[in-house]
């Protein structure tokens, strides 16, 4: 297997062929914010929070889908990147109905954590206050589309890990939303196994346990890598890194 040597933030690192910039950064504890990325699932590159600068190009590249090449020089934490990441979180905040104070994941939300991370103290864009639906027809779970950031973790985990493929995206542009089966109430979905994986991987309060009160819902998404490893490699071992 060939090894690629490249530079991240002035330090040289080695990558195995097929590794992404994000994987190398994570292995070497270089922080790059992510939202749609989840270890164990396919990469999607939708949220653009993990964008990095690569010398020689004007474009920004998502670290989760970009593979390093020999001698590539990557910057992960420039003024320009900070500006764009903050703007992305602002746009996410403005296009949904995110009311942290009364949300089931208040204090345990990846979007909220990101807002702190990018130092979001206000949103410069007008709030759209879209009319989104809440579906509580499932006996155990609820989807509140007001809080969905369209990361598609639920879509991918249901398709790739549970193999039920309940979730999909309907609509276009700003009207995109997550739907169950043929756009029907979740409680009527014949394909849903009620496994709850989608709820556990959702980074916000869009998917949650029915009966959870404000701030009560805590999620744990590290189990996905455990399941995938167990399936692919027949290794039933949790490492400290996965439990983080």
């Amino acid at each position: 297997m060939s090894v690629i040597t490249f530079t991240i933030d002035g330090e040289q690192y080695s990558a195995k062929e097929g590794d992404t910039i994000l994987q190398v950064a994570r292995d070497n504890k270089i922080p790059i914010p992510t939202l749609c990325y989840l270890e164990g699932l396919s990469t999607f590159g939708a949220c653009r929070l993990c964008v990095v600068e690569i010398e020689g190009s004007q474009k920004l590249f998502p670290a989760c889908t970009t593979k390093p090449t020999e001698s590539m020089i990557v910057h992960t934490n420039t003024v320009k990147l900070k500006k764009y990441r903050k703007m992305i979180v602002e746009l996410l905040a403005s296009e949904g109905n995110h009311q942290c104070a009364v949300c089931v994941v208040n204090g345990h939300c990846e979007l909220q954590d990101l807002a702190y991370e990018v130092e979001l103290d206000h949103v410069r864009f007008p709030y759209l206050f879209p009319k989104k639906s809440l579906d509580a027809t499932h006996k155990d779970f609820v989807i509140d589309r007001n809080r969905c950031v369209l990361c598609t973790r639920c879509v991918r985990v249901c398709h790739e890990v549970e193999a039920a493929h309940v979730w999909d995206i309907a609509g276009r542009g700003i009207d995109c939303e997550i739907i169950a089966d043929l756009n029907q109430p979740w409680g009527t979905s014949p394909s849903c196994t009620s496994c709850g994986k989608c709820v556990r991987v959702c980074p916000t309060g869009a998917l949650f346990d029915k009966g959870a009160a404000v701030g009560e819902m805590q999620k744990e998404s590290g189990f996905i890598k455990f399941i995938v490893n167990a399936r692919n490699k027949h290794e039933w071992v949790r490492t400290a890194h996965e439990e983080e």
């Binding site: 104070a101 009364v102 089931v104 809440l134 509580a136 027809t137 006996k139 609820v142 409680g187 029915k210 009966g211 959870a212 009160a213 404000v214 701030g215 009560e216």
Partner: protein
């Protein structure tokens, strides 16, 4: 010719009110109105949300009494889940409710009303606030602030935060109480009891000092409404509704709180966002009633704790020959008696071994499509009434809040004070008059936005109108 008088500095608050005073041809006061000109909309925007979120959402109605909304909303949730909550959960909710009373009443007495009493209605408005009080009597004020802290600390220990804890849920509460934290709360009791006694002593001196003014501070007969326990004692969490009139006649008793809507209606006036609840059999506006400390201490047969019961008997002796204290000024006295009760009862609850139980939450799904929760908030009886679909999504919410139930009486109080103190022939409102009107409203400790509370001064806007509608004088604060 109208004239604008600006009073500065203005203490910032949430909650906005306006008062208009109407004069007749002879320049005598014929009407006065207390307008609440802001709108919250919780009843509408909670439609479509989940039942389990409602305690957390509705507690945001108020920054002073969030625990009351939290408990009442959770009780409506219990009703919809059709569960009987565990004994420990009920006792913990009772503890939370009393802590809420204590901190809110302490705020009303020490921070908001005491500056008027102790510094004087006509004292300089720039210092007629809690800071002026600190300068005048540091130890007394400090004790009052610490009494409020005690209430807040109980809420924080139980729910993890002082304001807007989401700790109470349909079916019970979220966390049990640890022994060490129970003991931590108990250490406060002796100091809290002494502070309330000091407040009562101070208040009795005030009663003497203002003996001539007090009879004009909302002194009229109305119905009095509140919860009483199953055997008629002072109640704050459960029990039945009792309605008495100003002559001590029991108009209705042992009403199930769930039947409140059969007895109370809500009228709307175009000049205020605050609705006007009334007792249906007496029609609007004759069905005016008062809720809160004055009503509760008046209508109960006894108080279960000894010190508060002894004070209740002294309170009743103020009533003359009707056995009902009808003067709204004595809300303050009733509030202090309730603080004493709260301290004594908190101690009783903390010493009850059941408070440390670990079974605290009943789990159930939707078993009814309609539920009503009721408890006594600091300012009076509070109802949350929800309709849900089979998935637990709110279809309709009605919140009957204590301050609204005092609306008719607050208007009457404003009218009485205006009639007594305003000399229409002079066409002029003095600072002292404005402050007396304000103090009359403050007897009720109103939560105008029911989100937070006047701190020091309310942003009042008073207009003096001639018979022709001309603005003779206007004061903003």
């Amino acid at each position: 010719m109208s004239k604008m008088i600006t009073i500065s500095p203005v203490t910032r608050i949430e909650g906005h009110a306006k008062i208009t005073i109407q004069l007749d041809d002879k320049n005598d006061v014929i009407d006065a109105r207390f307008h609440v000109n802001e709108f919250r909309g919780f009843e509408k925007f909670t439609e479509g949300r989940l039942l389990w979120e409602m305690p957390g959402i509705t507690s945001r109605i108020c920054g002073i009494c969030p625990a009351s909304h939290l408990v009442t909303s959770a009780k409506a949730g219990d009703d919809i889940l059709a569960v009987e909550i565990p004994e420990t959960a009920e006792k913990l909710r009772r503890l939370l409710t009393l802590a809420q009373w204590l901190q809110s009443h302490a705020l009303s007495f020490f921070h908001l009303s005491a500056p008027d009493f102790l510094l004087g209605f006509d004292s300089d408005p720039a210092t007629r606030n809690v800071f002026g009080l600190i300068a005048a009597d540091k130890e007394f004020t400090k004790r009052g602030i610490r009494l409020r802290k005690f209430g807040q600390e109980i809420i924080e220990i139980l729910g993890g935060r002082r304001i807007h804890t989401p700790w109470t849920v349909p079916g019970g509460v979220r966390e049990p109480l640890e022994l060490a934290k129970r003991d931590q709360m108990l250490t406060w009791i002796p100091e809290a009891r002494e502070t309330v006694k000091l407040a009562l002593d101070a208040l009795k001196k005030i009663h003497k000092k203002y003996a001539k003014e007090i009879p004009e501070f909302g002194n009229f007969r109305t119905l009095l409404v509140g919860l009483v326990s199953k055997d008629g004692g002072l109640e704050y969490y459960d029990g039945f509704l009792r309605i008495k009139d100003g002559n001590d006649n029991t108009i209705a008793d042992k009403i199930e709180p769930k039947k409140y809507f059969e007895h109370f209606g809500e009228a709307v006036e175009p000049w205020s966002y605050l609705k006007f609840p009334y007792y249906k059999p007496f029609d609007y506006p004759r069905g005016m009633y008062r809720v809160g400390p004055l009503a509760r201490v008046n209508i109960c047969d006894y108080i279960e704790t000894p010190l508060a019961e002894a004070e209740r008997k002294i309170f009743k002796s103020l009533s003359g020959n009707v056995n009902v204290v009808n003067n709204s000024f004595y809300y303050h006295y009733a509030r202090c008696i309730e603080m004493l009760f709260a301290v004594e009862k908190i101690e009783m609850l903390l010493k009850d071994p059941a408070i440390l139980g670990e079974t605290i939450r009943a789990q159930a799904s939707i078993n009814r499509l309609e539920g009503i929760g009721c408890s006594e908030a600091p300012r009076g009886v509070l109802f949350h009434h929800y309709h849900v679909n089979k998935d637990g999504v709110i279809q309709k919410a009605n919140l009957l809040i204590a301050t609204a139930q005092n609306n008719l009486a607050m208007n009457r109080t404003v009218r009485q004070i205006a009639s007594h103190f305003i000399d229409g022939k002079k066409g002029k409102i003095t600072e002292g008059i404005l402050n007396r009107v304000e103090a009359g409203i403050r007897c009720y400790d109103p939560c105008l936005s029911c989100s937070t509370h006047a701190l020091g001064q309310m942003p009042l806007h008073v207009e003096l109108l001639s018979a022709g509608g001309e603005v003779l004088d206007e004061v903003h604060r």
